[in-house]
């Protein structure tokens, strides 16, 4: 399948692009959309999160119960969430209900009510979830890892749980109204649909429901701070009564997805720990039995921002030290000796095959199309991706690993009991 030939791209309303890929799945449609206005677009990041989470709490025309009754009587779902940069929505419905679902999405985006009592309940629930996350070893290890390698105002950093709770408590309905007034609208809105749907059907519904909406007044995002200087450090978080600890090891890398070395480094890190047959799972898990799961990945490199790479694994408290040592040994071997041509060949076919397999569901298709569009890439990039992977060169990958990774300056974070 070629995306260029299969995806129908249009702009039925100025400032709103559509991407439609009809598939043979019967009756089912998945829609995802996004627009700029994520958490980075307000000084208090929780304003965007609360705004998107309040979209299903009532509109100028309908109460939240009327909305949920309409959706649930069709078995349909609509959800809204804020990511760092975007306000995202996803809907699943049967073909027979697509007109009602698109109408509701538009109404929720355009005319939210933001009732004060609902905001109070939502804030209480979000704070409760944050309190609960204090016990989550994986989340705590990741937050602390990111806070160690990035300053507070870096786009890839995370707030402490306490700061997040404080930020939520400060938000009032007037903040949501101001944010909605400024940030929501046409301009960067993208809607992708897959399944039992035609481009004509979606574009017609978009015109009916979105034409005439105001334009976004999105401010330019600042670049944020540079990452912290890399240095060897260890930071442990004690959480009581935990039988397994989560460990992050990694550091920032001075490159973004725009960099010509990005795919080479991504492939190098994938060979280290991208899947079960990668080195970390084969040694630390399969041979040594030290963990149920361990892997490595590169992250936070989108939109021209330099990101980081890390390994993540879980270990029994008594095996944490041994687990970390074994992980470091494998990283050292990878860094010093590099990857082999055989490994590269295998992982090229892996990624090519995974790409094909990911097209098996409407959700998989849409993720690829929408993410690609959000990053401003032409649809042809999706067709060319496997070619880019296939041209990666073993020697260059090893040079790139040595250029961007510094084993002397890893940050390690452990969250668990008796750490």
């Amino acid at each position: 399948m070629k995306f260029k030939e299969s995806v129908i791209i249009d702009e039925p309303v100025k400032g709103l692009s559509t991407f439609v890929i009809p598939t043979k799945v019967r009756d089912v449609i998945t829609i995802s959309g996004s627009m700029l206005g994520g958490m980075l677009f307000s000084n208090n990041h929780k304003i965007s999160s609360l705004t998107s989470s309040m979209l299903d709490k009532g509109t100028q025309k309908k109460t939240k119960h009327e909305i949920s009754n309409i959706l649930e009587s069709m078995g349909a779902e609509i959800s809204f969430i804020s990511s760092n940069r975007h306000i995202n929505f996803t809907a699943h419905c049967l073909k027979s209900d697509i007109d009602t679902v698109v109408e509701l999405i538009a109404e929720q985006l355009r005319e939210p009510a933001f009732p004060e009592n609902e905001l109070d309940i939502l804030k209480k629930r979000m704070i409760a979830n944050l309190e609960i996350s204090k016990d989550d070893t994986k989340k705590q290890a990741l937050i602390n890892f990111l806070r160690n390698i990035y300053p507070d105002d870096h786009h890839n950093s995370r707030s402490t749980i306490s700061d997040s709770i404080n930020h939520i408590e400060l938000v009032k309905t007037k903040d949501l109204n101001i944010f909605h007034n400024n940030s929501f609208g046409l301009g960067s809105l993208k809607v992708a649909a897959a399944g039992d749907i035609s481009s004509d059907l979606l574009n017609g519904l978009i015109k009916t429901n979105f034409d005439g909406w105001k334009q976004q007044k999105i401010k330019q995002l600042s670049n944020g701070s540079l990452a912290n200087k890399r240095m060897k450090s260890e930071n442990n978080i004690e959480i009581k009564d935990k039988t397994s600890s989560d460990v992050y090891i990694g550091q920032t890398v001075e490159l973004s997805e725009h960099n010509k070395d990005y795919l080479s480094l991504m492939m190098g890190i994938y060979i280290l720990g991208g899947n079960f047959s990668a080195r970390l799972m084969q040694t630390v898990r399969d041979e040594q039995g030290l963990t149920y799961g361990i892997g490595s990945t590169i992250a936070g490199c989108g939109y021209g921002i330099n990101g980081h790479w890390h390994t993540w694994g879980t270990f029994s408290p008594k095996l944490v030290e041994q687990g970390i040592n074994s992980t470091i040994i494998e990283i050292d071997k990878w860094y010093k000796n590099g990857i082999t041509q055989k490994e590269l060949n295998a992982k090229k076919t892996t990624l090519n095959g995974l790409y094909q397999v990911s097209l098996d569901t409407t959700g998989g298709l849409i993720d690829k199309i929408l993410t690609n569009a959000e990053k401003g890439r032409d649809i042809k990039y999706l067709d060319n991706y496997t070619n880019l992977i296939n041209t990666l060169d073993n020697d260059n990958i090893n040079k790139v690993i040595n250029k961007y990774i510094d084993p002397q300056k890893f940050t390690t974070t452990i969250a668990g009991s008796d750490v």
């Binding site: 009754n69 649930e72 309940i121 409760a128 079960f276 990624l351 098996d360 569901t361």
Partner: protein, 429 residues
Amino acid sequence: MSNQYEHIKSSGGIDEYRLKSNDLRVLMLQDNSTPVATFMVTYHVGSRNEAIGYTGSTHLLEHLMFKGSRNFNKEQGTAIWDELQSIGAQINATTWNDRTNYFEVVPSEHIEKAISIEADRMRFSFLRDEDRQPEMTVVRNEYERGENSPFDVLDKNIWATAYQAHPYHHSTIGWRSDIENVSTERLKEFYDVYYWPNNATATIIGDFEKDTTLSLIAKYFGEHEKSGHEIPSVYTEEPEQQGPRRVVVKRAGQSGITAIAHKSPPGLNSDTYAIQVLGKILCDGKSSRLYKKTVDKGLATSLFMYDFPFKDNGLFITYAFLTPGTENQTVEDIILNEYDDIVNSGVDESEILRAVAQIRATVAFSRDGSYAVASALNEAIAIGDWKFYTTFLDKIKLVTAEDVKRVAQKYLNEDQSTIGWFIPKNSDK
């Protein structure tokens, strides 16, 4: 179709065949819309086939099944993970109460690879002690990860309290000491009792050519004979519960959990459909009864219920995750009052229509992708009739308000209940 097979039945686009030489069942659902197929082998063995001393064995054995077999092993450079992941396959296996399944989602040109690997390890898995030692600690870490979660711990305690004799008493991961101490010989014995073609169903969904694929399955699985023994059945029955039970778990945490469980019938019982509708009315979605009375009131962060259809009796459980400061008793009372309301007054027709619409959509979504179909079909195979998957929606559509009231009266009975609380010992780290 090859004369090596007997056609058994068809339903919902799925065809069932029996490989005559060894009684392997084969299910096929062809859909050539994307160049992907899922191949899956379901063994009719799960943690219900275990007993004290070797709980968790089915799952540990599932792990060892990836360590190598006659033709696919590290020594020959043909390790299972390498062979499959190098072609981009999504590969894994899962174990649950009534079944163990191994599956590969593959670019369709690699179907033969998946079939050959599953056939090889059906009877020629190595199951070596030197592999069990490191894999035991892997599984133990999986157990430990689960124990990190208050929900997982409470859920295990509820099943262990509700079921005393029946093997659903223990969770699929097993007890820690059994994971650590079960012998390789015991696992091999388990393998030699249950891993046979006549105790398995092979399923293929997606982009394949029927005759070619049937030939491949016959070529690779046909080398196995059927077991020389009867596959043992589980004869342990749970004695009748004669009063309500309670279990409390206390440990460090941030907020409480209230869970209310009632015994429910086996999955193939005709009451299953009305019970599924009852669960939707109570807990599924923002307009469900309990969501409005708990989450909407700020008493819970979320709630859900499950009543997975199993081969034997199950549990109808509602879980509420409490906001800090909310008492377990408060939410318990709300849930039980709502149960009482349905027992006494029944439900509205509009609630039935909403629940049926939700299930109708869920069924449609469960056909989005070959793995989604295989996964849903796997659970129907496990409870003893794969047509449960293809006929489920039609039977749901027949459920009436009177049916829902009747099953509520029959199963939401205090004497059949087990109530579980998770109480956080303190809110500090």
